[in-house]
């Protein structure tokens, strides 16, 4: 496995791989790798010849009062982990490589970017779309892999790739969870032991929605109320938003009907903001 730090070198490596007929899979991450990332790398490993994992804590997707500075960074540890699942390249560029002086180009997915997390984190998806676009232009992968945990991100990136006719296929893999249901996230490391113990109620509230829907509850208001009740049982947790939305437009729906729905939840535990979601697909 090679660690590449300059985008010019990463580009020329990938250019040569393509020219040699190798299929490239790309897993963009911000590092602090956990089992969720590793499952994406394994998925890529199965589908392609060469797997590139980027590790880049993207300043542009963080708000001014967010955790950019304290976001966990440990390249050596990440490289070791990526090697255990047979990644071929780690691409870990410096901030100045991706955003040199004078940088001024940004990609907006209008509408989609303003909903759910976008409402709580203005500019977040502009930062995500911009950096993913840059990374895709450097690596030029055949497939790029994202986790369903960041559901809105996958919707935004799919829309961007479709709109800009970027020649890549986006693969979304299921959320990987701890034994108690908590979605894996690099931000789980921020939780105190007491907070960590409270955190699984987020997934519990989402699971409960599935049960309610199976039992015949269809109204979005009723489902949201159930989520809020469940979360309220855990005083350490404060809801940021509950979204029951169309899986493509991210528009709120009034009821669960014949389309795929995302039930998304963002909540604060102390200073830590966690997200999770489930998809409800119509029965065949």
């Amino acid at each position: 496995m090679e660690i590449v730090t300059r985008s010019s070198r990463m580009r020329s490596i990938c250019h040569k791989l393509r020219a040699d007929g190798q299929r490239i899979g790309f897993v963009p991450t911000m590092g602090a790798l956990h089992e969720g990332h590793l499952s994406l790398i394994r998925e890529a490993r199965k589908m392609v010849d060469k797997v590139v994992v980027s590790i880049f804590v993207n300043p542009v997707q963080f708000g001014p009062n967010e955790d950019y500075l304290r976001y966990p960074r440990d390249l050596a540890r990440d490289a070791d982990l990526a090697a255990t699942v047979d990644a071929d390249y780690i691409f870990a560029p410096a901030v100045e490589d991706i955003y040199p002086p004078g940088f001024s180009t940004y990609i907006n997915i209008e509408g989609l970017s303003d909903k759910l997390c976008g409402k709580s984190r203005p500019g977040h998806f502009r930062g995500v779309a911009t950096v993913v676009s840059i990374l895709l232009n450097v690596v030029r992968p055949h497939f790029a892999f994202f986790g369903q945990k960041d559901a809105q991100q996958t919707v935004v990136i799919k829309r961007m790739v479709k709109d800009l006719k970027t020649d890549v296929e986006i693969v979304v893999s299921p959320t990987v969870r701890e034994a108690d249901g908590l979605a894996m996230s690099s931000r789980n490391a921020y939780l105190t032991p007491v907070e960590r113990k409270a955190a699984p109620v987020i997934f519990k509230a989402l699971q409960q929605v599935k049960t309610l829907v199976d039992q015949g509850t269809n109204g979005a208001d009723d489902l949201e109320a159930a989520i809020r009740d469940t979360i309220a049982s855990e005083p350490l947790i404060k809801i940021d938003y509950v979204g029951i939305v169309d899986s493509e437009t991210l528009e709120s729906v009034d009821e669960i009907a014949d389309r795929t729905i995302i039930v998304a939840l963002a909540a604060f535990i102390g200073k830590t903001r966690l997200i999770d979601n489930i998809f409800l697909t119509p029965a065949e």
Copy 2:
């Protein structure tokens, strides 16, 4: 020469060309081809193996009160002209191909897009950057060719390609002019005979700047005043803006010093808005 209307087909043609080791040159146009476009196609012809010319009147770069609907369209004539200079492919997609329902991704070059023409035409360069990005993703050319007449466009596109690390080289060719100095433009077709006769004063005013600078005038205010005086001699013409700006940042400069400067002018003749510019490069 083949006329291609679907982007999926254009992509697969270009994919095959690349795989066969052919160098691709791309000339994006809105049709209504004139000698300026043909000179770009000739330039491309010299540099690459295959030349793709796109013809697409891009609705997103027109403001609500601009000339999108009346912009001249004649694909058969354009194709004949492109054939005379040995273009290999005309790519003429439908609006719905480039902007299918649900389209919502836009590229902004912040700062650069708001200056000069961007101030007069809000959203114009967002439309230009977005469509050029899409077309580049479909054609994936080695070189893309633009005319210096649209100076701000070339600055914006160069910035975008650099920022997003798009793998293409931008080639800018000199403005082609009528015998009396008027910059060639598809919009010249809108001019009445009387307006057409007045139009060359735009270039005359720019040429005069060069003379003044050669004679030692360096202050941007003095140069702008001279331009305004010259244009004022022609009552049919109304200035939209005069810009004396840095050629990379498009920031106004106070005086002509040691950097390359663009002197840019936009003016209305009747309802027709024309632009022109000259570059002032420091003596070696």
